[in-house]
């Protein structure tokens, strides 16, 4: 082999460069890795075939991916998804294999046995690409995600009989019954060993390892579990990745699931990168160039046929749109197909050039897949016009979010009980085995993990959470968790228990909403506050106009969007009132949350309507204005959220207190004018709005001059706060003006 170091440097450098560029244009890193492989393979003349070390390293990327998928799949979860896995999966593989086999045999005159294997090979999709993207975008929990995941799991299981089929077709030494018997026995043995280890030993091993409190021993034990299980599966003739999947499922039933998952992610992503580079290495540009027309035509054909087949079979259980989205998500051919085709070539079942073309088609489809999956909403919107209110309203289920309760000691338990009484959805996060068991016994939703582990917190959807409560006994843990949460997103609200008032100043740098001593009364006050905030969010974010609309009447729907959009100004106005009345941040956050939910729903309807072909040019123009308004309103809400924090801080300083109060009054006056214009347009009001938002007289120059001068004696942080807040005020004024101009255009009957 070539000198490895320059190749590694070139590969890592190229992958980093490509991925930085791809991330900037919002494309998945998968493409960067595949391109890196293709370029490095050509430049250094490396090929993955025959290079066992590289093949094994690459395969372990998929093993780790399957392991992390297995972690999501306890045996009970798999049972709950039996329809998606065993029914949809079986039908998808069966139908696609039959169609592709028939086409290969009847149209391309491929020998029947080879055609059957080609059919099965093309029926498989890319677990690595699809699940990576679904996981990254959080779509794994949606109906499309469940359909895709179920089918992919069945496909991964189906790889075993497909490989067996190749052996049956080519092994003339043993009879079919012999082969089936030995495979069944191997399956029983492999599963038996893995399940026995999982049930009897794994929990004890991890308990002992967790007791050492050593991160590296913990990591070592995870690696041992994954690699060991894969080896056992491989030893009995199955793929490494199936072993990884089963190991994941075994850990899914233990309390260490989330911690393992959090620790594993860096390994998984790195190895997956290697896997995708190895996919790129298999691209032979000479074959691509010589057969470019065949590759493009056949590739497009395969994707189309597969999309159609999956769409048709899912139509029986899902809506048209979900069926189409699932079909587009799974329309590529996957990495296991490469393994199947490699065996077809090795066993000389087909002409080698034809197999090479097939492999290039597989890789090309894998390169295209991220583009298709990332644009699945747009593509399905173009192909199927439908009402989206169910989808839009689904999003409203995120109203108010959930509460993450870190710690389940005496205070944590009281808070949890109070949350239950108020029917507030919450998840307990603890790193204490005893607390975990107690929470389990009390039938709580509980996760075992470190409260300062960012991956664990992200997995608990901390960004969507209504609040995070740190009910931890050790104050050092409170500080560590506060730091981690602030790193994830400084805007996340933290409520923390502190041992005494003396520790309060140590947490000043973090975004704490409340700092409490740990008695029962404060728990009641706290839960009451969360509850009120939740009710407020639900009330404000309920649709008033877009609860019923139809794309058959776009004019009326546009009017409804206009009215619902005006309500966004009401929500902003109410958050102004919250600022004025010095309501707690959670009260104000409730309005920001309502705004986000409402604006997402309105944005969704606008996008859907934009893709409708039945709009007149005038209607397109109106919708375009509403879309622009939508962007300005979102920007307004974000700016206001930031300004709210600044004003709160300025209020604490006597030198800037009055300015903080006057800012709320001044901006509210402009907002009220804008609301008048939005509700019932009047040109005179608009002229006034133009006058006050035009910045003709130098913006807030005089205020800055006055407050930054020596006589005010503001300290550095006060000055920085003043600059930042006046910039936000300027920005808000400009946004008020721009939205007003949009209402003028709407009133002109655009």
């Amino acid at each position: 082999m070539h000198n490895l170091i320059p190749i590694l440097i070139a590969a890592v450098g190229l992958a980093t460069l490509l991925n930085v560029v791809l991330k900037k244009i919002n494309m998945p890193t998968v493409i960067g890795y595949i391109c890196t492989g293709a370029i490095i393979g050509t430049v250094f003349d490396i090929h993955v075939h025959g290079n066992e070390t590289l093949e094994h390293i690459a395969e372990f990327g998929v093993v780790f991916l399957m392991f992390s998928i297995g972690l999501e799949f306890s045996v009970s979860h798999l049972k709950s998804m039996k329809k998606e896995v065993f029914l949809f999966g079986l039908l998808q593989v069966g139908l696609c294999a039959a169609v592709f086999a028939a086409i290969s045999h009847l149209i391309f005159d491929i020998e029947l046995k080879a055609a059957i294997i080609v059919g099965f090979g093309l029926a498989l999709s890319s677990t690595a690409i699809v699940l990576k993207i679904l996981n990254e975008t959080g779509k794994i929990k949606t109906e499309v995600g469940r359909n895709s995941l179920g089918i992919l799991i069945f496909q991964d299981i189906a790889v075993i009989p497909i490989l067996l089929l190749i052996t049956i077709f080519t092994d003339t030494g043993r009879s079919l019954s012999e082969l089936l018997l030995s495979t069944s026995m191997n399956a029983v043995l492999a599963l038996g060993i893995l399940i026995a280890i999982g049930k009897l030993a794994l929990g004890h091993i991890f308990k002992a390892v967790a007791g050492t409190n050593s991160k590296e021993i913990y990591m070592g034990s995870i690696l041992l579990t994954v690699v060991g299980a894969s080896y056992i599966a491989h030893h009995f003739g199955f793929s490494y990745s199936l072993g990884g999947f089963i190991a994941g499922m075994m850990i899914a039933d233990t309390i260490y699931k989330y911690q393992v998952e959090a620790d594993l992610i860096p390994f998984r992503d790195l190895l997956l990168g290697v896997f995708f580079v190895s996919v790129g290495l298999q691209i032979d540009f000479n074959i691509v160039a010589a057969n470019i027309v065949a590759v493009i035509a056949l590739g497009a054909g395969v994707i189309l046929v597969k999309t159609l087949a999956i769409f048709c079979l899912l139509l029986f259980s899902s809506s048209k749109k979900v069926a189409l989205k699932s079909a587009i998500t799974l329309c590529q051919v996957g990495e296991f197909s490469l393994v199947v085709f490699s065996l077809v070539m090795a066993n000389k079942m087909m002409d080698p050039t034809a197999v090479q073309i097939l492999m290039v088609i597989v890789i090309a489809s894998m390169v295209i897949a991220p583009f298709l999956i990332n644009n699945v909403e747009f593509l399905s919107g173009v192909l199927i016009k439908s009402k989206i209110e169910e989808e839009a309203l689904d999003q409203s289920s995120m109203l108010g979010g959930h509460v993450i309760l870190c710690g389940f000691g005496a205070f944590g338990r009281v808070v949890s009980e109070q949350l239950d009484e108020s029917r507030i959805n919450h998840v307990v996060l603890t790193n204490n085995t005893e607390s975990f068991v107690k929470a389990k016994e009390s039938h709580k939703t509980v996760v075992f993990g470190e409260p300062d582990d960012r991956d664990t917190l992200e997995r608990l959807k901390i960004r969507d959470a209504m609040s995070v409560i740190l009910a931890l006994d050790d104050f050092e843990d409170v500080k560590k968790a506060s730091a981690s949460i602030t790193l994830i997103d400084p805007k996340i609200k933290i409520i923390a228990k502190i041992p005494s008032e003396e520790e309060r100043h140590e947490l000043e740098d973090f975004n704490h909403e409340l700092l409490l001593d740990g008695n029962q009364q404060t728990a009641t006050v706290l839960v009451d506050q969360i509850n009120r905030s939740r009710l407020l969010t639900k009330e404000t974010a309920t649709l008033q106009y877009l609860d019923d609309y139809s794309f058959d009447n776009p004019g009326e729907t546009i009017q409804k969007i206009e009215r619902e959009q005006t309500r966004l100004l009401d929500v902003i106005s109410r958050s102004f009132n919250g600022l004025r009345e010095e309501k707690d941040i959670m009260h104000i956050k409730a309005f920001h949350d309502s705004f986000k939910v409402l604006s997402e729903i309105i944005g969704g309807v606008i996008t859907e309507l934009m893709s409708s072909t039945s709009l007149s040019p005038k209607e397109y123009e109106r919708i375009n204005i509403l879309l622009d308004n939508q962007h300005q309103l979102i920007s307004m809400n974000d700016t206001l959220e930031k300004l709210g924090h600044e004003l709160k801080a300025m209020k604490k300083d006597d030198k800037t207190k009055s300015l903080s109060e006057m800012t709320v009054e001044g901006l509210d006056a402009i907002l009220l004018t804008l609301k008048d214009i939005a509700g019932d347009y009047d040109e005179d009001d608009m002229l006034m709005l133009e006058g006050i938002t035009s910045n003709k007289k130098g913006g807030l120059f005089r205020i800055r001059e006055s407050y930054l001068g020596a006589e005010r004696d503001l300290d550095a942080s006060g000055k920085s706060l003043l600059l930042s807040s006046t910039n936000h005020i300027d920005r808000l004024r400009s946004l008020f003006g721009q939205i007003g101009s949009n209402y003028r255009r709407l009133s002109e009957g655009v």
């Binding site: 009055s658 300015l659 006057m662 800012t663 709320v664 009054e665 001044g666 901006l667 509210d668 006056a669 402009i670 009220l672 004018t673 005179d684 009001d685 002229l687 006034m688 006058g691 006050i692 938002t693 035009s694 910045n695 003709k696 007289k697 807030l700 005089r702 205020i703 005020i729 004024r733």
Partner: protein
Amino acid sequence: MLIENRGDVVILAPRHRVDTNNSPEVEKVVFENIGDGEGKMVIDFSQVDYISSAGLRVLLKTAKQMKKGGGKLGLCNLNDQIKEVLELSGFLGIIDCYDSVDSCLAAFR
């Protein structure tokens, strides 16, 4: 609220605060005195120490009416806090402010 007429100019002098509680009353008095907005009006803030968004709205409506009618509006004797809120809200871009009633009257001439 004190109301004074000097020639063709109406001078209004609200007191203490112009906020949600009394702005309807201030608005009523202002509009009784500006008619169709063709006249001249000075609002003297020498006795006002606070104005809320509701008060600012009254000023805006007044400015709008005066602009429509071709009249003149001037504010005077503003304390620092009120000057600040007028600057923050951008009202200084549409309403003229003066140091005293006399300077305002002089500007109207």
